[in-house]
């Protein structure tokens, strides 16, 4: 155990070192007034604001987390379903793909207000915005994985009398996993962006809401706290997707 800790420290020390350097430089720049602390509060100020402000960080974080998770979950279900549909039928691909692409070239910020008007100024709209940003990479990744298959494996299964369904879940589905997880990793970062954009446009709680309100009150330090929490949240979510991928694909670990 102790040996492991040492080995880990030996391998990962550059990460800790660079973080330390960034924090020290940041603290220095802010404290010496090179950049006014109103614009760039020092790390110590941010920590103290986190401890002493009367904001309920936990409940606001949970609000945003909830939007991200629900939106992302729906994106996963819809994204994978669409990918399966597209991979199975060239007709469906031609009919559906243009709209999927259009949904991405339209800037989410631009259509966000319209979505609120259509679906109402509540959580549904925020979940839809999260979904809108995060489902696209999931569709693309999964479609690639389902279709970019070693033709010989399909020959092999066919020569043994396997039908389309068997080939789908014995070859296409497991083959799609690595590509699908590339999409999921991009998707989860998009989901966080979507939730914050949605809260910027309309909300009464959440980390994005805290950023906008604290900025209108000229309390930049508070918005920095929210940004730091968002960063941690994003990292944890990304790590969770990454970890799930590793558990589902043990064959990628051994390389």
């Amino acid at each position: 155990m102790r040996k492991n800790v040492w080995a880990f420290a030996k391998k990962e020390w550059p990460v800790a070192a660079s973080l330390a350097i960034v924090l020290v430089v940041w603290q220095f720049i802010s404290q010496t007034g090179i950049v006014r602390s109103f614009l760039l509060p020092a790390p110590t100020q941010i920590i103290s604001a986190f401890q002493h402000s009367r904001v309920d960080w936990l409940s606001n974080t949970l609000v945003t987390l909830n939007e991200i998770l629900v939106g992302f979950a729906v994106a996963v279900v819809i994204g994978i379903s669409l990918a399966i549909l597209i991979s199975l039928s060239p007709l469906a691909r031609k009919m559906v793909m243009p709209y999927i692409v259009v949904s991405q070239v339209l800037p989410t910020v631009a259509i966000a207000p319209i979505i609120y008007i259509i679906l109402g100024f509540d959580n549904t709209s925020r979940v839809v915005l999260v979904l809108l940003i995060s489902f696209f990479p999931i569709v693309l990744g999964t479609v690639t994985g389902l279709t970019d298959v070693d033709q010989n494996l399909i020959y092999l299964l066919k020569s043994l009398g396997a039908g389309k369904v068997k080939i789908f879940y014995k070859v296409r589905l497991p083959n799609s996993l690595p590509h699908m997880f590339v999409g999921l990793r991009i998707g989860i970062t998009g989901a966080t962006i979507g939730a914050v954009i949605a809260e910027f446009v309309s909300s009464n709680s959440g980390l994005g809401f805290l950023i906008t309100t604290s900025l209108t009150n000229f309390d930049t330090t508070l918005s920095y706290v929210a940004i730091v929490i968002l960063t941690f949240l994003g990292l944890v979510l990304y790590g969770a997707v990454e970890l799930t991928g590793r558990l589902l694909m043990p064959w990628l670990r051994s390389r």
Binding site: L156, L160, K170, P174
Partner: protein, 256 residues
């Protein structure tokens, strides 16, 4: 030993639509018979439709004209070895070898272990393909191709891309395995030595369109030893095939 023809190709032709819309004749008027217990090699330049013939025997493609007739037994099973192993990288060695049994619904796990032992991969059952060398991956694909005791083993350039030394070792191992199990097989290759070493009969093909231009019987005993590769009958047979492929005709590039 010989119990008659397992597969008969009668005047088989097949063409494809190319991307530009032209029809390309892949193979033309192919006829041959595959008897039980023999290994037939198809040797020819690339583009002579060798792999197409295998796919037609496997029932993956239908000929445009002519017929591929297979013996009507209860289970006519195909074993397939591909050019580049084509393993499922998400499955361990054991589970890769198991694939045919899984698809066919045969519940005989002891055969999986037997095949893994036979190809010399005992102890590697739980490894994933990307942990194995290229040669070991070929061994897995050999085990997978034979685990369900196929009626006919189809080998599509099984050792292309393997270094020479590994290749010769693999060829000898495959030879012993095929001999030991009494496998009937069709070997597609552009490697003349490989064809002579592994097959009882060699069908020499020409390209565009792919036709059989000659049949060469290999003058070696059924049980072969590696040392035979260096001896006269082997070399003479290779020379004969090379001659049929016009590889011994001088070709001087025109300089003027």
């Amino acid at each position: 030993m010989k119990l008659g023809a397992l597969v008969t190709l009668k005047d088989v032709s097949k063409s494809y639509q190319s991307i530009t819309g032209d029809r390309i004749q892949a193979v033309k008027n192919i006829s041959f018979q595959l008897d039980e217990g023999e290994v037939v090699a198809l040797v020819g330049p690339s583009g002579c439709g060798k792999s197409t013939i295998l796919r037609m025997i496997a029932g993956l493609e239908k000929p445009d004209s002519g017929a591929v007739e297979e013996v009507r037994s209860e289970r006519f099973l195909i074993g397939y070895i591909f050019q580049d192993s084509s393993l499922m990288r998400w499955r361990t060695v054991y589970n890769n070898v198991k694939v045919p049994l899984e698809i066919l619904g045969i519940n005989k796990p002891e055969r999986v272990q037997k095949m893994i032992d036979m190809v010399g991969l005992s102890g590697f059952e739980k490894q994933y393909p990307n942990e194995l060398s290229g040669g070991m991956q070929r061994r897995v694909s050999i085990a997978r191709a034979l685990v369900h005791e196929p009626t006919v083993l189809l080998m599509d350039e099984p050792f292309t891309g393997v270094d020479e030394i590994t290749k010769e070792l693999l060829q000898t191992d495959l030879l012993y395995i095929i001999g030991g199990l009494g496998v009937t097989g069709v070997l597609v290759t552009h490697d003349v030595e490989e064809a002579v070493y592994l097959a009882d009969r060699v069908l020499v093909m020409s390209a565009h369109p792919g036709t059989i231009i000659e049949e060469v019987r290999v003058p070696l005993p059924k049980t072969r030893e590696p040392v035979m590769r260096t001896q006269e009958p082997f070399n003479l047979c290779c020379k004969e095939i090379r001659d049929k492929l016009h590889l011994l005709t001088p070709r001087r590039p025109e300089t003027r």
